[in-house]
Point group: C2
Chain length 203, copies 2
């Protein structure tokens, strides 16, 4: 193993990707060997360059950063994964940890944390942004798979009848799922339910 940490960077916003890549490359012990603008390109880059660390956003076109982590989890010789994201959503953190992610850093943090996280993760450590300790106690997703599925479609603005058609359910069933979701989340209607679930990273 060489003494330079080889990094692949996945981030969809061009300016942010460019800026992070340039700054990381300025660090003498870090080298950005490839960048990718979406999840699929990131996967190809990892396969090709076999980096030590994959630094990835969550919300990207194609495969999300969480999908990436999941797919790499059971590969031999996989890179350590650091997620860099905008939102302190407890659901995202939980899923990231489930997929064996080694670092979870918020874009809100100062820029030095980035190189820092890369180094500590490469050294075998774990890095979780302290802000997340709080968000983690927003509680855990109380929805069943079916309920989540229905809410996801409702959040897009589909009327119950169409949701029912797509899932091959009776319309009353759809209404009932939404009703239990609304009760579980302690809100007043589907719109609030969708907002809350999105905010928590449950959709």
């Amino acid at each position: 193993m060489s003494d330079v940490i080889r990094v692949v960077l996945a981030e969809d916003q061009g300016m942010v990707r460019g800026a992070f890549a340039q700054l990381l490359d300025l660090e003498p012990d870090i080298s950005v060997v490839a960048t990718a603008a979406d999840g699929d390109a990131a996967l190809r880059a990892v396969r090709e360059h076999r980096p030590d660390v994959l630094l990835t956003d969550i919300e990207m076109p194609g495969a999300s950063g969480l999908d990436l982590a999941a797919r790499l989890a059971d590969e031999p010789d996989a890179p350590r994964v650091v997620v860099v994201t905008t939102f302190a959503r407890s659901g995202y953190l939980r899923r990231a940890l489930d997929h064996g992610v080694a670092g979870y850093v918020l874009k809100d943090a100062p820029i030095d944390r980035l190189a820092d996280a890369v180094r500590r993760v490469h050294a075998g450590g774990r890095v979780i942004d302290p802000e997340l300790a709080v968000a983690a106690w927003e509680g855990t997703d109380p929805m069943t798979d079916r309920e989540r599925e229905v809410l996801r479609l409702a959040a897009e603005g589909l009327p119950n009848a169409e949701i029912a058609a797509r899932l091959h359910l009776a319309e009353g069933t759809v209404r009932n799922y939404l009703s239990t979701v609304i009760a579980k989340l302690g809100v007043r209607n589907r719109v609030e339910a969708a907002r809350l679930a999105t905010e928590r990273g449950w959709l």
Copy 2:
């Protein structure tokens, strides 16, 4: 006037703010004299430092970048404003131009565009991201002020009764506004209306 362009940078995400500031400062002819994490801090920084150019995000806590542009528009000796934002929303661009913004750049663009835009705007030019030429033809906001106001509350998940109470209207009136909005946008219900209007930058 000195030959170094003095810039104030407003951007709420710490990492992005730090990265952009460092990279701009590396340019010999640009100096970042202050950074701000929200709209109000940005306004204070501009008043204090009197920069040549204000580089600002749109979506920030406190005053948005568009609010900033509006407030600075009629001040004497105001900086030229460049908006750097994530979304190619036609409504944002239109409002930015209405407020006399000199540059509108997308975070999707390559990082060199940033310093580039600062220079060209400081030289008296205008910079509009080419991607926006397309988005501008998504059409113009067909809603009246009242309709927009009602839709904004509906998008938060408030039931009609509460929207009516807040705006001192009859519940039937609220229903009617939402109905016309739904018709104007060509969608099926309030949820789709809210999604579409948000996507276009009309809320």
